[in-house]
């Protein structure tokens, strides 16, 4: 590593244009944490917030800026399931499969949505319109079965209604 580290490593991702403000915002977050390696998870949160998901370029530049081995950064980004290394759909629908939701028919809801969208849980449609996700308990057991549609929690979800709402989103 001693001779191969490129000069003045700056945060760059191939896909971003130079007037992209997001890099500045991410850099500001890292600066606020004094580029401390222990801020990694917070920084990844910010990066995902800004970019929607974590690209390899993003992970490598975060590693450089926080003085962390890239293998560590990848490890953390993949260990924590909140982080995604693939682009999310424009819309997303998360079905809770926690015990309380499961016993109230969550599996059926997921099954029907899978059929409706032609996707497996964890996949995004080919046109990038929607991601279908399954969660392992959202802590909304009191309103089971729970579904999160584009960030909005729907309690006591009913399959038909949900399917209609999803169909509307995709129009």
């Amino acid at each position: 590593m001693t001779t191969s580290s490129p000069a003045g490593t700056t945060l760059q991702t191939k896909t971003q244009s130079s007037d992209d403000n997001r890099l500045k915002l991410l850099e500001a977050t890292m600066k606020r944490h004094q580029h401390r390696p222990d801020a990694l998870i917070e920084v990844l949160h910010k990066a995902q917030e800004l970019y929607g998901y974590l690209t390899p370029e993003l992970l490598i530049s975060v590693a450089q800026r926080l003085h962390l081995p890239p293998s560590r950064v990848y490890g953390v980004a993949t260990f924590y399931h909140f982080f995604s290394l693939v682009p999310p759909g424009e819309h997303n629908c998360t079905i809770c499969l926690g015990t309380a939701c499961y016993v109230k028919g969550a599996a059926a809801i997921l099954g029907e949505l899978e059929q409706q969208l032609g996707l497996q849980a964890g996949q995004t449609s080919a046109d990038g319109k929607i991601s279908l996700l399954a969660a392992r308990c959202l802590g909304a057991c009191g309103i089971a079965p729970a579904v999160v549609l584009d960030g909005q929690v729907i309690g006591h979800a009913i399959p038909d209604e949900l399917q209609t709402r999803v169909a509307e989103l995709l129009k």
């Binding site: 401390r36 390696p37 222990d38 801020a39 990694l40 998870i41 917070e42 990844l44 949160h45 560590r72 490890g75 953390v76 260990f79 924590y80 399931h81 909140f82 982080f83 499969l97 926690g98 015990t99 309380a100 499961y102 016993v103 109230k104 969660a135 392992r136 308990c137 959202l138 802590g139 909304a140 057991c141 009191g142 309103i143 089971a144």
Partner: protein, 419 residues
Amino acid sequence: MPLSEYIIMRELNHPDINQFAVYRRVGGWETYAAALREQTPAALVQQVKDSGLRGRGGAGFPTGVKWGFLPKGVYPRYLLCNCDESEPGTFNNHQIIDRNPHQVIEGVALSAYAIECHTAYIYMRGEFASAALLLEQAIAEAYAAGFLGKNILGTGYDLDIYIHRGAGAYICGEETALMESLEGKLGQPRLKPPFPAVEGLYGKPTIINNVETLANVPRIIEKGVAWYRSHGTEKSPGTKCFSISGHVNRPGNYELPFGVPLRELIESPEYAGGMRGGRPVKIIIPGGASAPWLTAKHLDTPLDYEGVAAAGSMLGSGAVIVLDDSVKAPHVAYKMDEFFKHESCGKCTPCREGTHWLVKVLHRMAEEGHGEANDIPTLHSIYRQMEGNCFCLLGESAVMPIKSALELFPEEFEAIVKG
């Protein structure tokens, strides 16, 4: 009988208590201010010890005793507030923060003062974005009012509270994994000893308590030990926010004094309001997914640490899941162990491989309805090979659903094997 004055769910007494002004009006932050001026940290620790407050995160360990484990004279120290609530069935922390956030912050601040620490972290489950925002706002208001920061209220005491977001890993609720995660690493448990109180976050003495535990502290100091102990039982004093879910009419969080019978929580119209459609109770999981199962014959078990333990389970986080006879035990065990498999960090062999194997067999039995002659003995030996041999409690927890299901409902497994 519902409580006349709530200790934690005070929004039931003061509906807008989530607003800073309202919280102040009902005496919020006054306990802390008075304590900083008038009480020594040691006196506060003694009161918490005397109150008999027990950790609400699951183990029920006496909070004051835990604080007493801090080595004398070693600084800095850290206080961590555990809000990584991720276990199926557990959802009270989230609600406490939503509805009574200032009391949580005051509890963190007061406890920090009591253990002589100047930096406290609240570890929030990553999915709780809105709750994190609420807490951040509450912290900002506390700073603005002079309750946090440097030289607080002119007493010379400094305290900063930070929110740290998790990122989707149940294991981070385990206290040492939580510390690893706070340090920006993989959320995997550390070897114990050294215990956190001696060598915790960044290798410094660290106390880690649940949200609900810390929210109790301002009320104990405000109203006194005797008042606090007038709730609950001798060994489990105070109240508990029970999260009840499953096939009940009114799932939700209910704050009850310790010792109320399970039946009352389930059946009382004030609480869960009985079983959906009047169907019979089949499985009761009294303390979150990691607790051994109880059945209808345990309905009169008093809901306190000793009572539930005597019935053969544990009170845990007070997350009560009640299932009726529409469910099949192998399915429930399958879903729960799938959760543990998904959340297994991979560090130790029995948990990583054991949950994987369990789920393979259970999936075939429960989902495909196909059993093989050796399945039942195999399932027994898998959990036995895990039990007591895992690195941390996650693997041990994964034993409970399958062990309970096999012990309580062997016939349902046999039926699948017979086809």
